[in-house]
Symmetry: C2
Subunit: 454 residues, 2 copies
């Protein structure tokens, strides 16, 4: 549709500047001090939806950060597409590793650097601008609804309530999400599954105060040493997770699926070079793509205890802490794994110390059927603008709300991600390639077209 291309060409610059405005708002959902920024970002999103052609758009209060909803209903008899995304972002630290301010967007070598540029403001905004493209050219062929939440990065604690209370509002035929990545612009791909998540925080307490490591060292258990011993015991020599029952519910992928996955291009040397690592690591018997796709994992997200400042302090600390999360694959249940993890850690805690465990957000794994109408429309859209059909891959990340939507709304989710694994999601210098941004805006209208035609 040349009118789309034309319109997008004419408004290219504005499409970028509007996104930059959104990225300037530090909408960090995990940090209470950003409460006002969250509200400001929600209001901005709402306005963008109206500007793009929504009949109505609203900011809904929740017990936490607000949810933005907007819609344009052209004809009740047409299929409805519900676009889900989130306007909240991960905390930007460690700040010292950013080359430019996380909330001062910079374009360099065709890449837009800012926290949220890819995850997920940039990808949400592709849909807003694709929507505008269709309304401005009177070529919207579906009813379209947007739900853009502000708590995805903290586990969407209040989304379930909202969805349950607004089932009619959210009624649709398919859910479209761009919060994942593709292999590359040359090798387009679509996630057909995302992993679930269990996330806990552990506090080990030895003595009731920090002690002099000379006076007490050797005679009082050191919480850091004990925590390290506990962590070390969670993987065996084959990097297999040792928690009894951890793999019980894992659905082993068929030889057929593993064969298909093996066909996805993977350059180990380029992968290592990109990350600056000497060697690949992971569960014995699986490829890198399998390790991040079809296998569950246990990762240490943070650890701290004792003296971490400049110089040396001869202290035997009272406490040591760790943040631990597991990625889950189909048929594993977040709550069940969290409980397994908690019980196991308590079981292996030696009598010298006490353990306290806090549960952070979790989420269920999700698989999307490639035979579905939605997947076919998305694949066809990508083939139209990329010139080749997307490779179906398993994503390593988690989008905990998937199972919620399926359960409450009874509709399938399509993952149409335009980011790249190298976008530094959750890391310093997060970026979104402008080529991907514009390609997304170019491709999305075709999804609506083909979905309406099916």
């Amino acid at each position: 549709m040349n009118q789309w291309k034309e319109y997008q060409q004419q408004n290219k610059e504005r499409f970028l500047n509007e996104l930059i405005d959104l990225l300037r708002i530090p909408s960090v959902s995990a940090r209470s001090e950003h409460k006002d920024d969250m509200l400001a970002c929600a209001e901005a999103m709402k306005q963008k939806l109206i500007d793009a052609g929504a009949d109505k758009a609203e900011v809904y209060k929740t017990a936490g950060h607000p949810i933005v909803y907007g819609e344009k209903i052209i004809d009740a008899s047409k299929p409805a597409v519900l676009v889900y995304g989130h306007y909240d972002v991960q905390p930007p630290d460690p700040l010292e590793l950013w080359h430019s301010g996380p909330f001062e967007p910079v374009v360099k070598d065709g890449k837009l650097y800012a926290r949220g540029s890819a995850d997920d403001k940039g990808q949400v905004y592709m849909h807003v601008k694709a929507f505008e493209t269709m309304t401005a050219t009177n070529s919207l062929s579906t009813n379209i609804k947007f739900i853009i939440e502000g708590e995805e990065e903290v586990g969407s604690p209040n989304l379930a309530t909202f969805v349950k209370e607004h089932k009619d509002l959210l009624k649709a035929d398919v859910i479209l999400i761009s919060d994942t990545s593709m292999l590359s612009l040359d090798t387009p791909s679509m996630d057909v599954g995302v992993r679930g998540l269990s996330y806990i925080e552990v506090e080990i307490t030895g003595p009731d105060r920090d002690l002099h490591s000379g006076v007490y060292g050797g005679a009082v258990a050191n919480p850091i040493t004990i925590l390290a011993q506990m962590i070390a015991s969670l993987h065996d020599k084959n990097n297999h997770i040792t928690i009894p029952g951890f793999y019980d519910d894992v659905v082993e992928s068929s030889a057929e699926e593993r064969k298909l996955m093996a066909e996805a291009p993977f350059d180990a040397e380029a992968y290592k070079k990109d990350l600056g690592i000497n060697e690949l690591w992971g569960e014995k018997g699986y490829t890198t793509n399998e390790r991040t796709g079809i296998r569950p994992t246990l990762e240490l997200n943070g650890i701290w205890g004792g003296y971490t400042g400049e110089g040396s302090k001869t202290v035997l600390p009272s406490k040591a802490h760790a943040k631990i999360s597991c990625r889950l694959v189909p048929n594993q249940k977040s709550e069940a794994i969290t409980e397994l993890l908690i019980n196991h850690l308590k079981k292996i805690t030696p009598p010298y110390v006490d353990i306290k465990i806090m549960v952070h957000h979790g989420g269920e794994p999700y698989m999307t059927p490639i035979e579905s109408k939605g997947y076919k429309a998305a694949a066809k859209a990508i083939e139209t603008t990329f010139g080749k059909a997307p490779i179906p891959v398993r994503g390593g990340g988690s989008i905990p709300i998937c199972s919620l939507f399926e359960q409450e709304l009874g509709i399938k989710i399509i993952f149409m991600g335009f980011g790249l694994d190298s976008d530094n999601l959750h890391s310093p210098n997060e970026k979104f390639d402008l080529a991907n941004y514009y390609k997304g805006i170019e491709t999305i209208p075709y999804f609506h077209k083909y979905f309406a035609e099916e």
Copy 2:
């Protein structure tokens, strides 16, 4: 000597207030931002020495923090006592655990709370006030010299140069140090040995940036997990240190000495209760007193990596760090153990990550002979004011400069400590019991008296 007691009674309050003035100065040697405080504290110390009756006192510049020297020479034919101490203190963190400001001294239940109250300003100041007691009552029977440095807590990097360049100035017959503790006022004791120290900092680097734990988790080695595995491997099931050669130079204590040590009163229940721990910990086959006295140790003083803030962040971090120190016993050499430690850690670093090791200060273990004139004078002084002879014990801490003094000045060191193990040295709420402070001031003059008489 009643005149001493009388003078001390009359000046009791001033003796306390002067110490409080010194404790208000945040002389944290490890933190560069306290450079000026260090100088201010040195100048204050110098003034206190002059006020107490020193013929001369000076602040000597060094490459680091200054050294305070003061003396009163009454008669070249009399024996000279060199008093060593330090005016620098440990960093006060974690600040949130202090009940009152670390540099806002508070007296509660007869205890003086402040960083440095016991380690070591309070114990140094006992000597200054004992000195004043003798000069004010014209009863000083020895030549007396003070060397009070400002870098003890960071390993005295510049003391050796100073001592080498001022051998004549520091010439003495004995060195007296109050930087250790005694069992209790009811059970006086004297340290006959202190442990040495090796202290390093480790940095483990995996990927060259923080990664999304979903996208890369399971396929890239997590530096925290690897560091934990390395730390866990440093002790075996018996809490014996696994570094090859670590114990090679350790002089095993004789059954006789272990029998003597066993006679020192030790109440395991009271010890556990005081520290709030459920169980004792340590190297199999040794008692608590042996574990902190005659055995070397390896302790984690700090660990950090990844996300340590509020809430959850699904990151696979680029780096993980740890501060590790070993306490050494007679015949172990600090440099040799540091090298063993470094080589071992490098050897067990898996190929997935890189390791960088920084060496912090170390120090040699030291033993003082209980047959020496100095020890006898100190023991007699304690017997005079406490009514019972001190029990000789092995201290767990380290005073790295001991071997330096012995080597350069060829004189023995006597540890006459008046603190308690419960003084929270290096911990929040460090305190010094006023009863111990005054008992020290009362006892020290007798040391000079008896040492002169021998």
